[in-house]
């Protein structure tokens, strides 16, 4: 018996699935990044259609310039946590700008989006509290729940009546219940029915958390996400998000109109016991946030390409997620077929994500694309062509 025995099944499963020699979908090496939508992979010029780089800001000259200045002036890293080693002025500035952007009083920056969910959920929900989370929530939400002392209950994905049924069962505990949903779900790309969920939250006097990781900069007239698009920002208690998608960096945040959010700085272990974001990351994120505010044409461009790719794939006969959003996932019936198609796409110069069960539904797998405002019409056409031979 060895402590490593538990991995043996995984080793065998991987060998069976990937033994064909088509490459490992979960260890793709990008040899050289050419732009926000193109890279060299296996020596081949490849369109990046699986990077969550929704606004294409990773190569924005303003973001790079701001990061470069911060790097020169403040160094490569903070080398410690804000509580123990101090807060940089730019951390505070970004938090102020996030609060202003969302029209709330409080904002906290975390070192990653994953840590933002861990930091919020593990700390806010305590003993005697309840977390009601959508079954399709991201792993960071599940992990944050697991780290809390709360009772954790799932409700059926996007099923408002199932959510309400479970709230009814809680009786007078609903006022100590946190409902957690996402703006756009990361695998199938569907929105939460947020208006109905917000109404239920008010009816049962619960609290509502929306993770806008995939919807920040993507939804809403001003890019604030699904809560803005659905017109329910007043009913959302806390918004979590990430800098690593539409903002083109790494990091995460939580904003709230509840001033008690500030107490997380003294109680949240994932905030306290990790190094704060590097100066260059904060600087590029601040610039990217300004771009979201001032360049709605990026969102328009993103949605134009999204609609085009979604409709083309649908017309080819692919089974897609229920609605067009920049996360477009094509369902493939078996894992083996999924690996085969994924490898062929890469050979044709298109990189997408392969998603296996349990993240993919019904024992199948997903070829998951994420569209970017940086994709040219020609690139979208090439992605369509790469898929077309499978249909």
């Amino acid at each position: 018996m060895s402590i490593f025995d538990k991995f043996q099944q995984l080793v065998e499963d991987r060998k069976a699935l990937l033994g064909g020699g088509g490459g490992d979908p979960f260890n793709v090496v990008i040899n050289q990044v050419l732009s926000s939508t193109e890279a060299m992979v296996n020596g081949r010029r490849t369109i990046l259609a699986g990077t969550n780089n929704y606004l294409g800001l990773t190569f924005d000259s303003g973001c790079i310039g701001a990061a470069r200045i911060a790097l020169e002036e403040q160094g490569t890293g903070t080398t410690g946590s804000r509580m123990a080693n101090g807060t940089f002025e730019n951390h505070v500035a970004l938090e102020r700008e996030l609060a202003e952007f969302f029209h709330v009083g409080s904002a906290i920056v975390f070192s990653t989006g994953y840590l933002a969910n861990l930091g919020l959920l593990s700390t806010l929900a305590g003993q005697d509290d309840v977390i009601l989370l959508d079954a399709d929530c991201h792993a960071s939400i599940y992990d944050g729940c697991r780290m809390s002392d709360a009772e954790i209950i799932r409700f059926r994905h996007n099923n408002v009546s199932d959510l309400e049924k479970r709230l009814r069962r809680l009786g007078d505990r609903t006022s100590r219940t946190l409902i957690v949903v996402e703006g756009i779900y990361s695998m199938l790309g569907d929105r939460a029915p947020l208006k109905d969920i917000a109404d239920i939250r008010t009816k049962y006097q619960s609290f509502l958390v929306v993770d806008e990781a995939h919807s920040l900069g993507v939804l809403g007239e001003n890019g604030r996400g699904l809560a803005e698009e659905a017109g329910v920002e007043e009913k959302v208690d806390l918004i979590v998000g990430t800098f690593s998608k539409s903002l083109g960096a790494t990091g995460g945040f939580c904003v709230s109109r509840h001033p008690e959010l500030e107490m997380l700085r003294y109680t949240s272990r994932p905030y306290i016991f990790t190094a704060s974001p590097s100066p260059s990351v904060i600087a590029s994120t601040r610039t990217a946030l300004q771009i979201i505010k001032t360049h709605p044409e990026l969102r328009h461009r993103l949605w134009s390409s999204t609609t085009r790719l979604y409709e083309r794939l649908r017309d080819m006969g692919f089974i897609l997620g229920p609605e067009p959003t920049p996360v477009i996932a094509a369902l493939v019936e078996t894992k083996e077929r999924g690996v085969e198609l994924w490898s062929q796409l890469l050979e044709r110069g298109v990189y997408v994500n392969l998603v296996l069960p349990p993240a993919a539904p019904n024992g199948g797998c997903l070829l998951r694309c994420s569209v970017s405002a940086g994709h040219s019409d020609e690139q979208i056409e090439k992605i369509c062509q790469a898929f077309s031979s499978f249909s």
Binding site: I153, R166, P357
Partner: protein, 89 residues
């Protein structure tokens, strides 16, 4: 089934309902009993476990917290937890 009816169920009644829910998932010569292990003996994967939880929740009109799942190994563990939850509801 409404919550009142669920609250009145005995251990044996719950056990029989759990057998009925689990039977379609048994694909070998296994005979279910209280000592049957859900993962090791029946071979349930995580998706099947979640599907079974949903079926049980609907049938007994309860919500099963994810927190208790690590404590459920056998059919008996499962029934005892359901007995507890139905009494609470």
């Amino acid at each position: 089934m409404d919550g009142f009816a669920a609250r009145m169920k005995s251990y044996d009644e719950i056990l029989n309902e759990v057998y009925a829910i689990l039977t379609p998932y048994v694909h070998n010569d296994l005979t279910l009993d209280e000592g049957t292990e859900l993962v090791a003996d029946i071979g349930l994967d995580s998706l099947q476990v979640m599907q079974i939880l949903l079926e049980v929740e609907d049938r007994f009109d309860i919500s099963i917290p994810l927190n208790i799942i690590p404590d459920i190994r056998t059919v008996k563990d499962f029934v005892l937890q359901l007995e507890h939850l139905t009494r609470q509801s």
